[in-house]
């Protein structure tokens, strides 16, 4: 049986990708951002997922205004990086998992989530930046196949937080009915607070962001009741993309362990948020990662250190 063992939340700010691609990671401004992901990369190396699902949004790269799918699941064998105006990012082609993706699509559609199936798609920074932050900068290939789930958060209205959360649950159910033994991680990306359009551009709301991360860990159902107007008012017009994190959260168990958190302002115009949540390991669970507990404790210490350091 396949199963989702952990969730990762991460911003996907394009400027982070540009800093990576242009070798600016050692500049103090960017070091502040990247240092917050060092432990996360280590966590990912140790967790070694067999497959990752990455929930993200396209930014006028694969989807224009002629077609605006609310949920689009990437079922292709591969997803080339999109040219976002400066040439495609110098990252490996993202390899998919067509068999599992097709299985998920079939399962969640019959579960009444009307997904769009995408058999050909380029992926932009929304997907590749969080992958860099967690997987580093591999030259030739990403360490595992990735199933992209593109969510419309560009045109109002995006799906509600509740809908996203419930889709996450349906995805988990789909994954757990897949016969192959696979350990999977799901990413929710975007946010946190930011507004990049209009006279109110530059809005950041750290108080909101902190509450969002707290509730994501401990009381996600509370987040599912937040109406869109509150996201836009409090976290910025573009901050509404935080609903995508609720798909990730819905795919996890109700009770999770927060093993890491990082938050810094700004990266370009955006508050950078990051969290790692692990499903609690049941007594009868596979003993693939006996060191999980100590790792968890270590990560927690680091996370506190990071917060203290801020």
């Amino acid at each position: 049986m396949a199963k989702i063992i952990a969730g990762v939340g991460s911003s996907h700010v394009p400027a982070i990708g540009a800093a990576l691609d242009n070798g600016r990671t050692e500049e103090p401004y960017w070091k502040r951002v990247f240092s917050g992901f060092e432990k996360s990369k280590q966590w990912m190396r140790e967790t070694k997922p067999d497959v990752a699902i990455v929930v993200y949004n396209d930014h006028a790269s694969a989807f224009s205004v002629d077609l605006i799918p609310t949920f689009a699941l990437g079922c292709a064998a591969e997803f080339p990086p999109a040219d976002e105006g400066w040439g495609p990012r110098p990252v490996p082609v993202v390899k998919g998992h067509p068999a599992l993706a097709a299985h998920i699509a079939q399962s969640v559609i019959l579960d009444e989530f009307d997904l769009t199936i995408v058999n050909k798609m380029e992926v932009d920074h929304g997907l590749t930046v969080p992958m860099n932050l967690l997987f580093g900068q591999p030259k030739d290939a990403w360490p595992c196949p990735v199933i992209p789930l593109a969510v419309n958060v560009v045109m109002y209205p995006p799906p509600t937080g509740h809908r996203c959360y419930m889709l996450g649950k349906a995805i988990r159910k789909a994954v757990e009915s897949y016969p192959e033994d696979l350990e999977m991680v799901i990413f929710g990306t975007g946010g946190l607070s930011h507004q990049i359009s209009g006279p109110r551009a530059g809005l950041i709301n750290s108080k909101w962001d902190k509450a969002f991360l707290d509730n994501l860990s401990k009381d996600p159902k509370k987040l599912t009741r937040i109406p869109h107007i509150d996201y836009m008012r409090e976290a910025g017009a573009e901050g509404i993309e935080m609903v995508m994190w609720l798909i990730m959260r819905g795919a996890l168990e109700d009770q999770v362990d927060e093993v890491y958190r990082f938050y810094t302002v700004p990266a370009s115009n955006t508050a950078v948020g990051h969290i790692i949540l692990e499903n609690r390991r049941r007594g009868a669970g596979k003993a693939k990662r006996p060191a999980a507990k100590t790792k968890r404790a270590a990560a927690r210490n680091t996370s506190q250190a990071v917060r203290r350091g801020k």
């Binding site: 394009p14 400027a15 930014h59 006028a60 224009s64 205004v65 002629d66 605006i68 040219d83 976002e84 105006g85 400066w86 560009v154 045109m155 109002y156 209205p157 607070s193 507004q195 990049i196 359009s197 209009g198 006279p199 109110r200 551009a201 530059g202 809005l203 950041i204 709301n205 750290s206 909101w208 869109h228 107007i229 836009m232 008012r233 409090e234 017009a237 573009e238 302002v265 700004p266 370009s268 115009n269 508050a271």
Partner: protein, 154 residues
């Protein structure tokens, strides 16, 4: 396609100051603007646009107001006429501007001040939540950067 716009119904999010929400209605209204911006992803199109902007824009069924906003690089007006920021940013990139330049333009500040505001923690939501509430005493003007960065101005 470029039919006349009927009066827009009031939406709850119209109350958010300094914010134009790109909804389904604006998506229809701004189809030409956004498709024009999409076309700038191709180098040959960028060159054709730069060679003769008004002529190039004729391909996109724009209203005179939309054409004017594009030619004048009035980014806030483009949003009001149905443009979306992820699309209009491609026009900015075609002009060789960073995104932060566009953000500064939209907020009516210099890029330096805008960048300083971001470094200082961004624009506060206090006083920036609601148009209807903005008349309350003590709330700040909606579109000014935080005082910290304003103070850096001479």
């Amino acid at each position: 396609m470029a039919r006349k716009d009927t009066a827009r119904k009031a939406k709850d999010y119209d109350d958010i100051p300094g914010t134009v929400v790109f909804d389904a209605e604006r998506s229809r209204q701004g189809f030409g603007i956004n498709m024009f911006c999409m076309s700038l992803m191709k180098d040959e199109n960028r060159k054709a646009f730069k060679a003769n902007e008004p002529e190039y824009l004729k391909r996109f069924n724009l209203t005179p107001e939309q054409t004017e906003a594009i030619l004048k690089r009035d980014y806030n007006r483009m949003l009001e006429l149905g443009g979306n920021i992820y699309f209009t940013a491609k026009l900015g990139a075609t002009d060789g501007h960073s995104f932060q330049h566009l953000a500064a333009v939209m907020t009516g500040s210099s890029q330096q001040d805008y960048a300083a505001m971001m470094l200082a923690g961004g624009r506060s939501v206090e006083g920036n939540r609601s148009r209807s509430g903005k008349a309350k005493p003590g709330s700040k003007s909606k579109s000014k950067p935080k005082s910290k960065s304003s103070a850096k101005r001479k």
